[in-house]
Amino acid sequence: MTSFGRTGNGGHEGLPRLLAGLEPGGAPMTMAAHTRIHGPLPSVFPQQLIEEVEQSGLRGRGGADFPTARKLRAVAGRRRVGPVIVNGSETEPASAKDRLLLARLPHLVLDGAVLAAGAVGASEVIVKIGSDTPEVVRALESATAVREHERIGIQVVSGPDGYVAGEESAVVHYLNGGGPLPTFVPPRPFERGYRGRPTLIQNPETLAQLALVARFGSAWYRELGTVADPGSALVTITGAVAAPGVYELAFGTPMRDLLDAAGGPSEPLQALLVGGYFGTWMDASAAVGLRLAREDLRSVGCSLGSGVLIALGESACGLHESAGVIAYLAEQSAGQCGPCVFGLRAIADSVGALASGVAGPRERDRVLRWASEIRGRGACHHPDGAVRFVESSLRVFGHEIEGHMRGSCRARPAGLPLGDGAARVRGGRLSDRRKSGDASRTVTA
């Protein structure tokens, strides 16, 4: 039985942890290399693992930031537990960390999934991924082949792309034979999920972190980070930085150091988008003195979400970029709920008008009213995220609206990455149950 590092052959000192041994541009890490770098898969009593995860303070890395031990406990007590689902959908366009883990460090994620399965009483693991990711499929197929002897079976399932397809209930719905669309909750997956059974669904990075906590313990995990935000995190840093990519950093790291890790700004920055398109903008000047920590980010209305950080340079136009993002978010609605379908479309049109300089403060006020009315009225949190993004866009770039009306804009389009997923979905519909978009239904205030 693991004694969590007390024997002194403890875990990695400092960084990297998850990314230890990762060769740049290399092939998937073999089981042999994985075992050499991290040690063998430990044998842990379920209760002991859950307690250690609880002590570590590990929280989910898919965006919701939910305490992992609480999720484990919610499923562990139940009968007829379904498979552990590794949610490798990663539909946030600018995010690349989960793809990196699955394609290059599959054994770390699978260790975590298998350990979690043992902890909650599941006998299977399903790794759900998006479409068109051949390197991920190949890596997972070889990794599962090498693990065939294990008690817990591992299956890989790929599904359609689309922004909301990665939402927990959408993944479960898809695996249950439905569309990749969110469902009305409750019940949540931990109560009724895969084939109606209690189901644990976790982000790949969360499971990778769990795989190391299971080996080295909670005290080791807490050697990095802060008391409130322990451990390390994978952050996809992109936009106006010299070396965009996925970086592993300790919580509590100053924002300045995050940008420097990615080669530093490629031009003076005006703003940062924290948390991807489900996140919010902050003024670049506000980043000075802030750390990668929940409290710091919250003080400027942000949260790390799925770990995406996009830097916006001075030469770009924040209004135009925001209009592009909100148009994408509106188009990515699952199409199931009126307030989301009609509300986000109206907001997108209005923000587009503001960015084009053909609308002014009254239009902005209308957007803010719609935003406050739409919040919380969808089956999932897609409209909530979109509305929060829009509000932050107006907060950070709103002062440019009047300039745009006068025809002045600093835009050189920065082209925030909409990713391959967006291009793929553009042509098709997510569902034929989309509510009809009859624009004449709008009642103007």
């Binding site: 009305f184 709920c337 009126g338 307030p339 009315e373 739409i374 009225r377 089956a379 239904r441």
Partner: protein, 66 residues
């Protein structure tokens, strides 16, 4: 005894009957979809709330009574 109203936004098709019956608790947005400013139903409105639930053509309005 408390009663809470909820809307299933997936099944709701904006028929608007709920807002007709229960304007004290339900108003419609710019596209005809219900907004529940307050989900707690006062005791004197529970009867009307039950009627609103029954009359919804898509069974989208839900009343949780404890």
């Amino acid at each position: 005894m408390s009663a809470t109203l909820r809307v299933n936004p997936i099944t709701c098709e904006a028929h608007g009957l709920c807002a007709e019956l229960l304007p004290e608790l339900i108003r419609l947005d710019d596209w005809g979809y219900p907004i529940l400013d307050e989900s707690e139903v006062p005791p004197d409105l529970v009867g009307l709330a039950r009627r609103a639930v029954d009359v919804c053509p898509t069974l989208a309005l839900l009343l949780d009574e404890n």
